[in-house]
């Protein structure tokens, strides 16, 4: 009894309840912490498992909500198994769930069961960029007339300010076509995935816009995002 009391005292002093409780949450092979119990000292394995399940399932759900096209492509069972692996190795570091999933594309790139879909990670990148654009700060887009008001001989020196929502996703595959076909519920026809596509993701107002950029477009926008002169555009304002 004395040893149990001293163990409890030590746990409290060292804030050990959270260490002990947290350590087995994402690792189903670890036993529940010794200090949790049911009423009248009942066993608590299944009780502790409720927390373990809540944590894992809710984080898989968060990834499923962020990457719906990816899940439609892989099917729900495949996606959830893949997401479970990611949740257990890379749980979120921020309490903002819409920030979660930044490492998911790299994980998918290396996920052995997804090797037959080498373009899948780029779809993940595009969906991640979509959510970033969705939550980005508001800003008025540059009106086309503003560009027209810049004298032609000064266009090359104009600096474009990128809109806070603007993201570029470059791919060796047909990522925009695959994304667009799978983001909704419409039937999907055969897609040739082999044509490289670059995506512009932005949000002029409230709706996120994903567009396939023409050749050279990604380099142009990226240059503008770095704050360089456009060489062919002008004015200050959101792109």
């Amino acid at each position: 009894m004395q040893s149990a009391d001293s163990k409890i005292g030590r746990l409290d002093k060292q804030s050990g309840y959270a260490d002990g409780f947290a350590s087995a949450l994402l690792d189903p092979k670890r036993a529940p912490p010794a200090f949790v119990e049911g009423p009248r000292g009942k066993a608590a394995s299944k009780r502790y498992a409720v927390y373990r399940n809540n944590v894992t399932v809710s984080l898989i759900d968060a990834l499923a909500a962020t990457f719906p096209a990816t899940m439609r492509i892989t099917g729900e069972d495949f996606f959830r198994a893949m997401a479970r692996d990611h949740v257990r190795t890379t749980p979120p570091a921020s309490p903002l769930l819409f920030e979660y999933g930044r490492d998911f594309a790299d994980f998918v790139d290396c996920y052995e069961h997804a090797r037959s879909m080498p373009w899948l990670a780029d779809v993940v990148r595009l969906e991640r960029a979509w959510l970033d654009a969705y939550h980005a700060a508001d800003a008025e887009p540059l009106a086309p007339e503003a560009l027209a008001s810049v004298p032609p001989d000064q266009l090359a020196n104009a600096i474009l300010t990128p809109h806070p929502a603007t993201r570029i996703v470059r791919s060796r595959y047909s990522v925009v076509t695959i994304f667009a076909a799978n983001r909704g519920d419409s039937p999907v026809n055969q897609i040739d995935a082999s044509a490289p596509e670059d995506a512009l993701v932005t949000r002029p107002d409230l709706d996120v816009m994903v567009r396939r950029l023409p050749p050279g477009g990604a380099a142009f926008v990226s240059q503008a995002q770095r704050g360089g002169t456009s060489g062919c555009g002008g004015g200050r304002g959101g792109l």
Binding site: A62, P91, D138
Partner: protein
């Protein structure tokens, strides 16, 4: 808590027509480590921007070290955890310049090291910090079932005069290691009849909408 876009647009429209209650879910007030200052700043910015009628959080933790677990995890009730939770509530209230309501949790396990009852713990937090309480009646029912105590006894001990908001939700049924009923606060179904009954008892008992005292 994003920077802009549709969520803020919708909330601004709602706030124009209705008072709102801001219900935090991830401050990790019940955790042993210091509060996340960045998160507290974001929380304050949200309170300043929307001027909610009520602000609440949970008696629980969700972040430990660098991991966010996205669940309301339980804590033991001891003098040490009481002091720390009170400090955390003070810090939140100091930051936002007003009192919060603290919600009673639903729990599935108990801690061997607990030495204070949950209602005493909450009562003492109210006394030390000036916070109010958010009474989740479903959580009372879930915890009472899971831990074999009387929900009515719990409510008799609960400082109802400090309750500023009441929550009701549905729960799901599972079983524990010994095959006994274990209720899960799943929020995925209608409110159970027994929980409505408890609610009737709560509002029938001298509970009235309080006016949480303003902080200076």
């Amino acid at each position: 808590m994003g920077a802009g876009g549709a969520p803020h647009h919708a909330l601004t429209r709602i706030r124009r027509d209705y008072p709102v209650s801001l219900h935090g879910v991830c401050m990790s007030i019940g955790g042993p480590q210091p509060l996340d200052k960045m998160h507290l700043d974001r929380f304050k910015a949200l309170v300043d921007r929307y001027e909610p009628a009520l602000v609440s959080e949970h008696l629980a933790w969700s972040t430990h070290e660098t991991t966010y677990f996205n669940d309301l995890l339980p804590l033991p009730y001891t003098p040490a955890t009481l002091a720390r939770v009170a400090d955390h509530i003070d810090e939140v209230q100091e930051a936002i310049g007003r009192p919060i309501l603290l919600e009673n949790p639903s729990t599935y396990v108990l801690f061997a090291q607990s030495s204070i009852s949950e209602t005493e713990f909450l009562d003492e937090l109210v006394r030390r910090t000036g916070c109010g309480l958010l009474l989740d009646v479903n959580n009372v029912f879930v915890s009472a079932t899971n831990h074999g105590f009387s929900a009515l006894d719990y409510l008799a001990d609960f400082p109802l005069e400090h309750v500023g908001e009441i929550h009701l939700a549905g729960h799901a049924e599972q079983t524990d290691d010994e095959g006994d009923l274990l209720l899960i606060d799943s929020h995925d179904g209608p409110v159970a009849d027994a929980v409505w009954k408890l609610y009737d008892i709560v509002i029938g008992r001298a509970w009235r909408y309080p006016n949480p005292r303003r902080m200076g």
